[in-house]
Symmetry: D2
Subunit: 319 residues, 4 copies
């Protein structure tokens, strides 16, 4: 990092959420050279900081194993100037029930949390705190802050928030479905791509042409015929009308591989629009399945054969 | 309706939301015979009222043209005892900015709304009311109620809520994307299906088998090979792990048609699980495309031909 | 076999060819009860004997591992009244070079054979008998007969023909590609089908609709989507114009299996025409691959599930 | 043509057949500069003349609208050194019944023809000349020669043969199916390809990998996914065992088009073997269907887009 680089990471704040934890896992904690990571009030704000050069990269939530794609992130990436994912990290989502020190569980009447956290802890709350009102807040960290300030009796938030606000954890692992994971991504302006590692993901958003039955089938065949597996396919309304979708896709290959390049040009030819959101190493390190006919060497040999057909040895090129 | 039928419709409350408007559009307004539609605090609550016999049907939101599937509804249908959709209705989502009579726009500092409404009006609010804090509430109707009570300065809610709470509308049509529509469905216990009309939808949730690349391609081919178009395909995390989805599907055919029956048995054979959520008339009345080879008569003629092959005229059935 | 049954097998003659050997392998040798198998001058003649009731069954060549489908048989089945294959047998095609006893190889100048045999022995003849004229005859047996009569010096024919005509075999196994096999079928009037054995073939001819790009792809998907493998797919011109084909197909399943029944009705709906030529045990006894989702029980369970959806328990059928 | 070029065309003889007529239609009649076209006794012989430099090109039959592929031609192309088709021509197959002048139809007892001609006139002969023996000859021209020599009473041959041998035509258009057409091709050593015209064919032979169910489906998808139509797909036994085929394919595109190039490399990667037999103008001048997404410009734009992704403007290429 040179002295002229913007010094910090922008992330979806406030501090004390799982996004800050993702920043830490990504090695983005404050140093003298880089300054502190800066929280932003919205995904859009964090991304715009990168687009305008005020931050070198942004860390935002991308997908949750229970709730699916984070629509605010996907929409901000779709509708704004291009950014590319350069890294990803998985963070285990472990909510905690937290109160001011000394508050007894039986006293709880007003509990605050973010609606997404509420969605993942609804049954637990109904079973354990049936008499407690659940109030929505704009983030789990704000809910914790509100407990500290006396506005609420309790919050469902990340354990980090208890530390920040001096709260006591009554229940450390609150979840309707244990094992929830959120995937966070680090985004930069388009530039040199992370080199292929053999265990890479390429992330795309494809808009199929309207009124074309079988269009999704055709889209999937673009991958199948080149031997590229998908690890994620999520529909997302385009917002224009009921039944109009785009598809957020993670493919198990790097854009520098010929098979992935051919998929991308195939999509570009046949879709209404394709957004490339980056090629980067998988957080879980799972090596891509690559059948022999989809290997780089298979592509190279096929190209050499084709070149020979088009201009056989000894032939004089037509002039 | 006989005297012993449960008298009312259960719906996702509180009153004064778009769901209540859907009940009205469905002809479910209170009458002497049926009593008043009853609001419930959650989708789950409204559905359980039907399952337990306390309501004859439930009306809940199912899909929004901007936000996609309503995950609370889909999850409640997936995880609870079977209910079938018998009707659907589309409601134009027109939010209004409402205040206590006499409040000037320049005075607004604290605005409340439901997070879903906030997602659909975010840009409008940032442009028109940049200084106003946006606070989440558990429903748009509760936000309006809070304005009447003086807790908030303004609310983004359905126009109906202004009428209920004596509020004044400052801006009648607040939306980042005009033309947003929400689709509501009416659900009953499994029983006689609505008869086919030629313009029908069959709604399903399909769980593909794990670790089977190409499984979604195979699922789509089940429809294509029988000439059944899809009007909706939405992925939904199963909640088990990142990358595990089920698919919510609307197909343009009625289960009483042989082509749809063959699709359903094909899915039952090849998927890990298939949930049938009903066959019912389309709200928009669009007639299904039915290629000649997918017509009921094509199926009947093919079956007659097959029967003749298996036991040709004059042949003695093997005993 | 009752006394009123026609007593014999019709086969493509003359005697002394591989077809007669196929009759023997099928257990069709002459007995007191059945009389002698009767040779016919053409495939059409043998089939017509069955169609007119003068023979109970016909044995004709169907496919050769070197030359492909026997077009005379396929055309006669396509254009005449329906007959069904009830058995098949594979016969190793071992041609022999035969002469009148005492003729030396160096003396051979005029060699006769059938054009199909010539096609399978062309390179051998060019290498071993480069000075010998090769003259076409209407059957290999007729060529052998011509050698006995002094018309030709030598014949390429089935070993059986040497025995019949008192010829001497100079080279016992004449073939450009060793291991050639011809598949013969036994045909009857439509009637009770051979019962399924688990190692069965269903033979079809499908005419795809004209001017429908992707029609062959669609035809193949009819099989793939029901888990039925193909062991043979051969194009055959329909004779109407260049580029117009029908497809002769062997599928690895019996028409009594639900998966094969569904394939057949699917083809009947989508093809211009489908000819069913029988379901019968494979000569090689190879057991069909049947994935779990294509098993009879998978079809039965899917049908029971569908029946429950269409008329749920407790529902009153609509009247 | 320079003085050192071999001066003539090799063709499947003898003279007086439809192949000679194809040579004439291709403008290959004798001139002072080129010398006379030379008949060869076999397809293999004509092709070897080109391979060894004794002829500049060869004209041989390739496909017949009634009988399908000419297996001798296909086999000779598959098993020998590479040759490329550079032109094709369609010849209407009109057989004539010919006799020595003065012979009455009622006197005919011995008729000769080639087995392929016999196959196309079988029903006509059975109806018109039921008492006449049909004897096979090695070519229709040889049959006509035999009539002139008194060996046979009549021949079924090309009208050209009657002129050559002073025979009288008793029936000018003998055919079971009127309108039969044979397609002939002109072959050269690999060299500069004929330039694309917009109405081109690329001819291939593809060998799919053994024991791979669905392999033909996958092969067809290679074409479908790139928007290339097929005008011919013919199976051909490989000769190794029953059920082992290769596929002779005519595709409606020229190898210089990116869509066809991508199909070819796709086949090269996924098939056991692919033979390229040439790209050349269609005889019927039918312009290829080219959907917008398969146009050269669509490929070029997609490639430019991909290049931009891999090395975004301003990015320093990794070194």
């Amino acid at each position: 990092m040179t002295p002229t680089d913007p010094p910090h990471i922008a992330y979806l704040g406030p501090s004390g959420t799982f996004t800050e934890q993702a920043v830490v896992q990504l090695g983005g904690a404050a140093t003298e050279a880089t300054g502190s990571p800066a929280p932003f009030a919205s995904v859009e704000g964090a991304l715009d900081a990168v687009r305008s050069g005020r931050a070198r990269s942004a860390v935002v939530p991308f997908e949750n194993s229970v709730e699916g794609s984070v629509s605010a992130t996907l929409d901000a990436l779709i509708h704004g100037p291009a950014l590319h994912i350069v890294r990803e990290v998985h963070v285990a989502v472990q909510f905690a029930l937290m109160v001011r020190p000394g508050t007894a569980e039986a006293q709880l009447r007003r509990l605050a949390t973010h609606p997404h956290a509420e969605a993942q802890t609804r049954q637990w709350l109904a079973g354990r705190l049936p008499l407690c009102d659940v109030l929505p807040e704009s983030s789990t960290a704000r809910a914790a802050e509100g407990v500290a300030a006396g506005t609420y009796d309790a919050a469902i938030a990340a354990p980090l928030a208890a530390t920040r606000h001096g709260l006591q954890i009554l229940a450390p692992d609150v979840a309707d479905r244990p094992g929830a994971v959120t995937r966070f991504v680090q985004l930069q302006l388009p530039g040199s791509l992370p080199p292929p590692t053999g265990a890479d993901t390429t992330t795309l958003v494809a808009f199929i042409r309207h009124n074309h039955p079988g269009a999704l089938l055709a889209l999937l065949e673009q991958f199948a015929v080149r031997g590229v597996d998908l690890s994620r396919l999520e529909s997302r309304p385009t917002g224009e009308a009921l039944g109009q979708y785009c598809f957020a896709i993670d493919a198990d290959a790097h854009v520098s591989e010929p098979r992935m390049a051919e998929v991308l040009t195939g999509l570009h030819r046949t879709c209404a629009q394709v957004l490339f959101l980056g090629s980067y190493p998988r957080a879980d390190g799972r090596v891509s399945v690559r059948p022999p006919e989809a290997a780089d060497t298979a592509y190279e040999q096929a190209q050499a054969w084709l070149d020979g057909l088009r201009c056989p040895p000894g032939a004089q090129p037509s002039s």
